[in-house]
């Protein structure tokens, strides 16, 4: 309906392969970025930051990472929580061992640590697939959480609960209890924008195609010269890198204090997996939509059921769990590619309207 594409033609492959080839999409993206960068920072408050925007953004980040592994490369993982913990604990260790190190580097390095751990646990993917692999990744989940809980070195021989020390960026506190919501929001947003762009670049290029070819038909991929192990491990590495950064952001920015068995338990793994199923497997946009859905639905339900209808918090929680489960089934039946595909179909319809095809 709104799309007008007559007269938009491409003179070279660079123009043809750009991320947003349609002019109207560029405008939409521009509007979103303007709101995110120039409007929200001025109106944000503590509630919006901690309850809505930060969870949405960090889970988008993590979902992006998991979607690379599950959605693009077709390797199921239930170890997300464990990898988030690796990110959080390695950033804690780095941060306390090198207090002078800039927080950005700390977080990037902890992403690197997570990538290494991810590769290690990705090794079985050479021999096993599907739910066998899911079970193997559960080992990562349970082992890693146990390790962070049991090995005192990881929490500097203090309490098993770790707390983020205050750190500054450009003179503004971004971690610790004194940090302003605006600074924290912008810090996470910066990570999100840069790494979303990188993810988009990866999935549209050679590496992304090698992941997808392994996902769609690994035998054919192998005979095209794609090395299955290398490809799968690269997906594990990139995915874990993102998840690790996400874990570090949860620890430093969003929560400030975490305990491995609580903050990163297996339910986190399910949570993120559900986010990408609902959002859309194999879609960068899907990671955002799924994270938005999973992070914001409880907030919405609480407002409606508890604050509005006066229901007990417990009951509302149970309803939420059921709703999530039902939606997973619903999406798998009706639209296995999730919200992102629904958006794509809508967009396609808008582009064709008034014609249905």
């Amino acid at each position: 309906m709104l799309y007008r594409e007559t007269g938009q033609f491409k003179r070279n492959y660079a123009a043809d392969q750009q991320l947003f080839p349609i002019f109207q999409d560029k405008i939409l993206l521009g509007v979103i970025l303007t709101v995110a960068l120039a409007v929200i920072p001025f109106v944000i408050n503590d509630y919006w930051s901690k309850a809505i925007l930060l969870p949405f953004m960090v889970y988008s980040f993590i979902a992006l990472g998991l979607n690379i592994l599950v959605g693009y490369c077709g390797q199921i993982s239930l170890g997300t929580g464990g990898f988030m913990a690796v990110g959080a604990y390695s950033s804690y260790k780095l941060c306390t061992a090198f207090p002078e190190m800039n927080l950005v580097f700390v977080i990037l390095l902890s992403g690197g640590c997570t990538a290494a751990v991810g590769v290690l646990f990705g090794l079985p993917s050479l021999r096993i697939k599907g739910f066998y692999l899911a079970v193997a990744t559960l080992a990562a989940q349970f082992f890693l959480i146990w390790m962070f809980n049991k090995v005192p070195w990881f929490y500097n021989y203090e309490m098993s609960q770790i707390t983020a020390p205050p750190r500054e960026m450009f003179g503004f506190l971004v971690s610790g209890p004194q940090a302003s919501p605006t600074a924290q929001y912008l810090f996470v947003l910066g990570f999100l924008i840069v790494f979303t762009w990188i993810a988009l670049n990866l999935v549209r290029g050679r590496i992304g195609r090698s992941w997808m070819s392994i996902r769609d038909m690994d035998i054919a991929a192998e005979l095209l010269g794609i090395k299955p192990l290398k490809t799968k491990l690269s997906a594990f590495a990139v995915s874990s890198f993102y998840i690790g950064i996400g874990g570090a952001l949860i620890f430093h920015i969003w929560l400030g204090t975490v305990e491995a068995t609580e903050a990163f338990d297996i339910l986190q793994s399910f949570f993120v997996l559900f986010a990408i199923i609902i959002g859309g497997l194999g879609s960068v946009l899907g990671a955002y939509l799924g994270a938005a859905f999973m992070a914001l639905m409880p907030v919405g339900l609480k407002v409606v059921l508890v604050d509005g209808a006066g229901m007990a918090v417990d009951t509302a929680k149970h309803i939420e769990i059921m709703l999530v489960g039902s939606l997973i089934i619903f999406f798998l039946i009706k639209e296995p590619h999730g919200l992102a595909r629904m958006w794509q179909i809508t967009k396609e319809k808008l582009r064709l309207w008034p014609f249905p095809y």
């Binding site: 594409e5 007269g7 003179r11 070279n12 043809d16 309207w353 249905p356």
Partner: protein, 643 residues
């Protein structure tokens, strides 16, 4: 806006115009071609360089002034460069339609003694090679698509790119040569030998001199101005006079940008990407677009359908009052234009056949300012054009300034043969003085079309003179004219009007299955097949209404009295239609004799039970029974006597 076109007395040949543009506007984009998925652009300098190099190489290979150069292939930059290059050295070019049969090439190439040929790819090169001795005049065959060429070892075959490279070397050695060659050609020299559609005999070649071509296209441009901001997408057959006028004439005179789509399948999409500002579409194509549009909207949701109906109604209403509906444009036509790629269209032409008023209005309402035009190859294409001031479905407008058109042998209604002359018309048929004499009498070109002028001086074209038929009572009528009117109904796919030598007119109708089947589904009418659908009384009633509607606009003596719905669609594969979907009356008369007899008999059913032999030698036994229905709108014979 008064846009200055190059002075035709100085720049009197096409290559001179090209050189002029390349000197004045070297970096401006002249041409675009979609290759390998993206649009490659050619500036005027690129264009000129390519033509120059090619011309020099052709000249070296022996092409001289007065030689004939044959071209066959898809519309693309190589085609027009080859054409202009040949014209640069003074050769005359003949374009062949790409699906032309070997025999026709043999005839034309042999008859014209073509010296060189451009054949785009292996398939087309094959056609020339297969001629063997029948085209022994051809000394070089230039190809541009490398694919499949390896298996040829004929020494005459050379590659386009090799020639361009060779031409560049020649140019480096003798930089003045090209200019000398171009300057040696004048406006009096023949540029194009344009094939005229010979439906019965072999095609003829109309000689179109450079000067005439340049001047006539400038005359046309005066009535429909273009400039370098205009975009044109070349999808019509390149050998056709109008495509030559637009791509070369308009392109070189007004610097309108010309774009060539990737291939036939992607043509519509490619056209949309470019967004042309000017287009020419045959009425048949427009009707097809309108029908497709409606059919697709029928599959959309109820809200969309409602918006569509409302939008069309609002838009049409506004158009009838001489304006555009802002509301309809916002809610519907803006999107519709975009989907079809017509968003940027500033002027649009159609012609060659009659057109349905609904379709015509629909495109006007959509913001596509359609104007009908009329012309012939011999007269350098169009020479009449509507002024677009009012909705005018019937006429083709008034003649261009300096073009004289008159009706001869007119009957009482003023209908007679259209004859025309203008200073820039063709010079005669190449090597065929006899044919020239037959068509040109006292300097007037006899078009063979029947038509008349209305009181505003606008020309209306009815049919070919020889296709005008007569009933037993002496009424003249044009079957095609009435058939076209019938076919404006969305429910009628094909129609055959009968009545020559009979007392009154009847019709054989083929329903338009795509639309009627949807209509039947909505009306909950069960059917199993085309035949079954055509036999339903509800459908008969539907079509009867449509015919009665058409009858209202026809003179009393030309009204359709009876009709039947044929059990099958007329098919070009069965020889019932020409490839351009014109009815083959002789085939119909022969094959459906019993039906026609029944239509003029007393019964209310027509039976078919006969063995027929199709064109390809298949034999089939046809057994069918069809109802015959009277159209109430037509007066019964008894009433007529009484009246």
């Amino acid at each position: 806006m008064a846009y200055e076109y190059p002075d035709p007395s100085v720049y009197d040949t096409l290559p001179k115009l090209l050189r002029f543009n390349a000197e004045r506007h070297p970096t401006e984009v002249a041409l675009r071609e979609k290759d390998y998925g993206v649009w490659t652009e050619f500036t005027w300098a690129d264009y000129q360089e390519r033509v120059r190099n090619l011309a020099l190489a052709m000249h070296e290979a022996g092409l001289r002034k007065g030689d004939v150069f044959a071209i066959i292939g898809d519309n693309n930059v190589d085609w027009i460069c080859a054409e202009l290059a040949a014209q640069s050295v003074g050769a005359m070019t003949i374009g062949f339609y790409r699906d032309v049969l070997e025999d026709e090439i043999a005839y034309l190439a042999g008859y014209s003694q073509a010296k060189m040929a451009y054949a785009e790819d292996q398939e087309q090169v094959d056609k020339f090679l297969a001629l063997g001795d029948r085209a022994d005049s051809i000394e070089k065959i230039i190809y541009s698509d490398q694919r499949g060429m390896r298996k040829f070892d004929d020494p005459r075959i050379v590659s386009f790119n090799d020639l361009v490279t060779r031409g560049a070397e020649i140019h480096a050695k003798s930089p003045e040569l090209y200019d000398q060659l171009v300057d040696a050609v004048t406006g009096e020299d023949v540029a194009i030998l344009c094939t005229t559609s010979g439906t019965t005999s072999n095609p003829k070649l109309a000689e179109l001199p450079h000067g005439n071509f340049v001047r006539h296209t400038q005359l046309y441009l005066k009535h429909d101005p273009k400039d370098s901001t205009d975009e044109y997408v070349s999808v019509l057959p390149m050998p056709w006079i109008m495509e030559q006028v637009y791509t070369l004439g308009f392109g070189l005179n007004s610097r309108m940008k010309v774009s060539f789509p990737e291939n036939e399948e992607t043509a519509m999409q490619d056209m949309r990407e470019i967004g042309p500002t000017f287009l020419l579409l045959a009425p048949r194509v427009l009707e097809q677009i309108a029908a497709d549009m409606r059919a697709r909207v029928m599959d959309a949701g109820p809200l969309t359908q409602w918006i569509f109906e409302k939008g069309v109604a609002l838009g049409t209403e506004a158009v009838e009052q001489g304006s555009r509906s802002w509301l309809a444009d916002t809610m519907l036509f803006g999107a519709l234009r975009d989907r079809l790629g017509f968003s940027n269209v500033r002027s649009a032409a159609t012609g060659g056949a009659a057109m349905g008023p609904e379709t015509f209005k629909l495109f006007l309402a959509m913001g596509v300012p359609l104007k009908q035009l009329y012309g012939q190859t011999e007269l350098l294409g169009a020479y009449t054009l509507q002024d677009g001031k009012e909705i005018d479905v019937d006429t083709v407008g008034v003649p261009f300034e300096g073009c004289e058109v008159k009706i001869i042998d007119a009957d009482t209604d003023g209908v007679g043969e259209i004859v025309t002359r203008h200073p820039n018309m063709f010079r005669g048929f190449y090597k065929n003085a006899e044919a020239t004499k037959a068509d040109m009498k006292d300097g007037w070109m006899h078009t063979g079309d029947a038509g008349f002028f209305d009181d505003k001086g606008r020309l209306t074209v009815i049919d070919r003179v020889k296709d005008i038929a007569q009933t037993r009572t002496g009424t003249k009528f044009s079957p095609q004219y009435i058939e076209n009117k019938l076919k404006f109904s969305p429910y009628i796919g094909e129609a055959v009007i009968l009545g020559a030598g009979q007392d009154y007119l009847t019709a054989i109708i083929c329903v338009r299955f795509s639309i009627v089947s949807k209509w039947a589904e909505k009306a909950r009418i069960p059917f199993t097949s085309y035949t079954n659908l055509s036999d339903r009384p509800e459908i008969y009633e539907l079509i009867r209404g449509e015919i009665a509607h058409v009858n209202e606009s026809l003179p009393e003596t030309q009204k359709i009295r009876k009709f039947l719905l044929l059990y099958k669609e007329l098919d070009a594969d069965d020889g019932e239609l020409t490839r351009t979907r014109k009815v083959r009356r002789s085939v119909i008369a022969e094959r459906y004799g019993p039906i026609i007899e029944a239509l003029y008999g007393d019964g209310d059913r027509a039976e078919m039970n006969s063995e027929v032999t199709f064109e390809d030698g298949r034999k089939g036994n046809i057994q069918a029974s069809m109802k015959i229905m009277e159209v109430d709108g037509a007066a019964a014979p008894a009433l007529k006597k009484a009246g």
